[in-house]
Symmetry: C2
Subunit: 139 residues, 2 copies
């Protein structure tokens, strides 16, 4: 199977599939003409990778998940640990974004958004420390 078919079946662009080969996530055979020759097994692996990436796992996570997937002696605890760590990363990211969102939303609502230059958003970004005039800035 050529890369175009695999792209369609796996949902990954050809560029990405080539990249995944380059970093060793798949090892397709080669036809006599130099074209990559994928087996169904490769398609399956690539779809697996696509789903893992869609869940936000890093490439390194994917590499490890794939290794576990192919190891029938694995302990599910190993998989779960990777997933839990990722879940924590996601939670942290969401918290960070929620914090940004709160501040930004507040500022946006406070801004008239008209022709006048007065802007609480810029005022906040420019905000000097409230006690700035108490700080020795001559140093």
């Amino acid at each position: 199977m050529n890369i175009g078919d695999v792209a369609e079946k796996s949902g990954l662009p050809p560029k990405t599939i080539r990249y995944y080969e380059e970093i060793g996530l798949v090892r397709p055979l080669r036809s006599a003409n130099g074209y990559r020759n994928f087996l169904e097994r490769d398609v399956h692996k690539l779809a697996f990778l696509g789903r893992a990436r869609a869940l936000g796992f890093t490439i390194e996570d994917c590499r490890n998940l794939m290794a576990l997937y192919e190891d029938d002696q694995r302990a599910s605890s190993e998989v779960k640990e990777i997933a839990e760590q990722h879940l924590e990363r996601i939670d942290n990211k969401i918290a960070e974004l929620a914090q940004m969102r709160a501040t930004l939303s507040h500022l946006v609502h406070a801004c008239a958004g008209d022709h006048r230059p007065d802007c609480p958003i810029l005022a906040d970004l420019a905000a000097t420390c409230p006690d700035e005039d108490l700080i020795d800035t001559t140093a």
Copy 2:
């Protein structure tokens, strides 16, 4: 003022400050010895940039916000528009992460996480389309 002092005052690492100069966000003077020589105004700008970046604005947003900040003829609507677009980006990102979180959390709870190889997480990642055998794959 040397870069080290500016770093301390602005909260940005020296490396980042040099980078911001490289991409034209600040233009410090130079002393006779070749050292960058920052004015209070530069420190203020850098702190502004640091706060904007902390709110997740891109560097390009920062460039535009800074230009508006320095233009006393600006309309607050221009600032608000940038902020609103960013808010939307944040909301999209949060939604995406929340979706990942939901799926992943579900899978993690379903996984025993013991010594056995059975794992719903891997099963899901490997999941072929439920109706795969009904799909014409010969096309």
